[in-house]
C-alpha cells in the first residue's frame, strides 16, 4: 500500500513537470501574429480600396 502511494506521488510529480513544460505552439502563434498584423496594417480590407499608394506605381 505504501509503495502504491509513493508511486502515485512520484507519477503526479512527474506529470506535473510534463504539464509545466508544455511546448510553444509556433504554428498557432504565426496565425495569431498574421491576424494581428493584418489588422494593424489593414492589409486585408485595404486590398480592394485604392488607399495604398504603392499599388499604383507604374509598371516598368
Amino acid at each position: 500500500m505504501k509503495s502504491i502511494l509513493s508511486l502515485l506521488t512520484l507519477t503526479l510529480a512527474l506529470t506535473a513537470c510534463v504539464t509545466i513544460n508544455i511546448y510553444f505552439p509556433a504554428a498557432a502563434a504565426e496565425k495569431a501574429a498574421d491576424k494581428i498584423i493584418d489588422e494593424v496594417w489593414q492589409l486585408k480590407d485595404g486590398v480592394s480600396t485604392p488607399a495604398s499608394k504603392p499599388a499604383e506605381s507604374p509598371a516598368k
Binding site: I36, I37, E39
Partner: protein, 145 residues
C-alpha cells in the same frame, strides 16, 4: 504478485487519464491562441491608428523593422523637417505597444514565458508582410525589401 497486478493496472489507468488530460491541453493550445483579450484589442487599435503616421516613414526609409520585432529610426534625414522632432517619441510609443502586445499574447494564453518566442514569431511576420521598399534589420544591418 496479486498486489503487484492491481498496482500495475491502477498505474496504467492513472497514466492513461493523465496523458489524456495533458494531450487535450496540448491540442487546445496548438489549435489557436486567443488574441481577442481586451488588452490585445486596445493595443491593436492604438497601433492601427499610429500606423497612419508611420506608414510614410517606412516607405521613405526613415524607420525600419528590427530583428527583435520592434521598429527603429534608420535615417532621420529622410524625414520631412516637421517630423524630425517627434519621430523618437513616435517610435518609442510604437515599441511600447509592441512589447506590451508580445507580453499580452503570451500571458493572455496562460504562458508568460512564451513572450520571447511570440516576439520572434512576430518579428518574422512583420518583415514578411512589409511592403517592398521598406527596410528591415538582418545580421545587424539594414536591408531594403
Amino acid at each position: 504478485m496479486f498486489i503487484g497486478n492491481i498496482m500495475q493496472k491502477f498505474m496504467i489507468s492513472f497514466l492513461l487519464v493523465i496523458s489524456l488530460l495533458v494531450n487535450s491541453g496540448l491540442v487546445n493550445a496548438a489549435a489557436d491562441l486567443d488574441v481577442n483579450t481586451p488588452a490585445i484589442s486596445a493595443l491593436k487599435n492604438s497601433m492601427q491608428s499610429r500606423h497612419a503616421q508611420l506608414a510614410a516613414h517606412y516607405a521613405s526609409g526613415a524607420i525600419g523593422l528590427t530583428a527583435d520585432g520592434l521598429i527603429a529610426v534608420r535615417d532621420a534625414t529622410a524625414l520631412p523637417l516637421k517630423d524630425r522632432q517627434g519621430i523618437n517619441a513616435l517610435v518609442a510609443a510604437e515599441n511600447n505597444d509592441r512589447n506590451a502586445l508580445y507580453k499580452e499574447v503570451a500571458a493572455g494564453n496562460g504562458h508568460p514565458e512564451w513572450q520571447g518566442e511570440v516576439r520572434n514569431i512576430f518579428a518574422g511576420r512583420w518583415i514578411d508582410k512589409a511592403q517592398s521598399g521598406w527596410y528591415f534589420q538582418r545580421d545587424g544591418g539594414w536591408v531594403k525589401k
